[in-house]
Amino acid sequence: MPITRNIIRINDLNSGFIDEFVESGRKIFGEDVLRSVELCIQCGCCTGSCPSGRRTAFRTRKIFRETSLGFKDSVLGSDDLWLCTTCYTCYERCPRGVKTTDIIRVLRNMAVREGYMADAHRMTASYVFKTGHGVPANEEVQKQRVELGLNRLPPTTHSFPEALRSVQEVLRLTGFDEIVGFNWETMELRGRI
């Protein structure tokens, strides 16, 4: 087998990624929250606290390191990024006050924009487009509701069609339909799933 050089050329990393990342979430969280990723000292307290990392290959610490150094493709393209349950345990314990979970959320937003949104997630999103609910009512529950003395449908978008139209309009205005790939004519996701 031929020997290949197995090193990372720091010069080849995307050094602008960190700014791109900060810019992506700055308007929502403010710059300090996102820049906190650069305060990470790789102590591993987050990873040791992470219930997801205890059963998967997901390593919070690695994501923060890669983000700071500019490993854009491997951070955004990694499936592991989606293994955080947003439990905030790491956020609570990080000794450097790195806003871990917020950072992960912004990275996921970037990943989605780069086309890394899982079909299962597009599906979840599509329910909101269609019904206003991520978990819409089904026949069985409607019967249970009546048995419990409740209205067949809750007083939500399920009962108020004009409210559903408002929700849909908001999502159109924010451009969420484009992000998810939702077709208003068919009221289904674009492309095959």
């Binding site: 308007k27 219930p51 059963r55 349950t85 947003t86 959320r105 978990v135 048995e147 408002s166």
Partner: protein, 298 residues
């Protein structure tokens, strides 16, 4: 009579209506009225939608708050996820004028405005603060003596604690205090504050990972000798209840651990009929628990 605008979210009205029915009737008993927020939608789930597109998540959450605010009352949620979304949105928008203006510009197109005047509360606060442990204790009709409860706090009510400000996220106590008020015993178990596995979109995308969380928690609870789980979050509730059925399918393991939302436990203490609590519609039967309670009464 105190009134709250009730934000139902998705899982409670559309999967566990028993929680909605029980909570509403118990609050009425304690002289607290729940007003509907007509036309509310998905909160939307904090760890899911905010991960897809923060701005969309924020705009929908802001719309929910805005129509809730129109009731003139504070808003109460029953699910940590709903609480997490609405409370975080409230926090972000009230702390950032530019962001608030931007979101309001969107909302103005559908005729509403986020003002940020209402407090976002969780049902657990209504019980532990408005009603209080003492009053709950005094109203108990059925003793739950001898019942060993393992509480599960979930994540998004407590954390991040610097924003949510409900005290310790490592060793919280308020839910255990409520359990104790019913006469039941609250017992410790390993990794008590660990996440159930539901959040962050993991359940939708990698259910085996989610169920592995759930399974670990269930094992720890069984090991500690718990008779049931008591939670305060619709998502965790679904995870533990439906999750047990799914774990049985995937891993072949059966735990048969009844899962109760904390108002359902209080309902048992108040002597409410099982039917009214909606327990029989859940995946995991609560019979073992009910037997233990009734056995204890004899």
């Amino acid at each position: 009579m105190k009134e709250y605008a009730t934000f139902l979210g998705c899982i409670i009205p559309n999967r566990y209506p028993g929680i909605e029915a029980t909570s509403t009737s118990i609050l009425k008993y304690f002289d607290i009225e729940l007003l509907p927020i007509n036309g509310a939608s998905c909160c939307p789930a904090p760890g899911v939608f905010s991960c897809f597109h923060l701005e969309s998540w924020l705009a929908i959450a802001a719309r929910n708050i805005a129509i809730g605010e129109e009731t003139g009352q504070d808003i109460v949620t029953m699910c940590n996820g709903c609480y997490g979304s609405l409370a975080e949105a409230n926090h972000l928008l009230n702390g950032n004028k530019e962001l608030k203006d931007k979101i309001n510009e969107i909302l103005s197109k559908v005729g509403c405005e986020f003002k940020g005047n209402s407090k976002i509360k969780h049902m657990i606060e209504v019980f532990s603060e408005d009603i209080g442990v003492k009053k709950i204790q005094e109203s108990m009709k059925n003793t739950l003596d001898g019942i060993k409860v393992c509480t599960h706090y979930g994540c998004h009510f407590l954390k991040p604690s610097e924003i949510k400000k409900h005290g310790s996220s490592e060793r919280p106590r308020f839910l255990d205090d409520i359990v104790r008020a019913t006469g039941a015993e609250s017992i410790d178990y390993k990794d008590k504050t660990m996440c159930c596995g539901f959040g962050g979109g993991v359940r939708a995308k990698d259910i085996d990972v989610t169920l592995d969380f759930t399974r670990e928690k269930l094992k720890n609870i069984i090991l500690a000798g718990g008779d049931c789980i008591v939670d305060q979050c619709a998502s965790c509730h679904l995870e533990f209840d439906r999750g047990q059925a799914e774990i049985k399918k995937i891993y072949g393991e059966e735990f048969r651990l009844p899962v109760l939302y904390f108002t359902q436990l209080i309902g048992l203490g108040l002597g409410m009929e099982q039917k009214k609590l909606g327990l029989e519609f859940q995946n995991i039967p609560a019979q073992s628990l009910l037997d233990k309670i009734n056995g204890g009464r004899k």
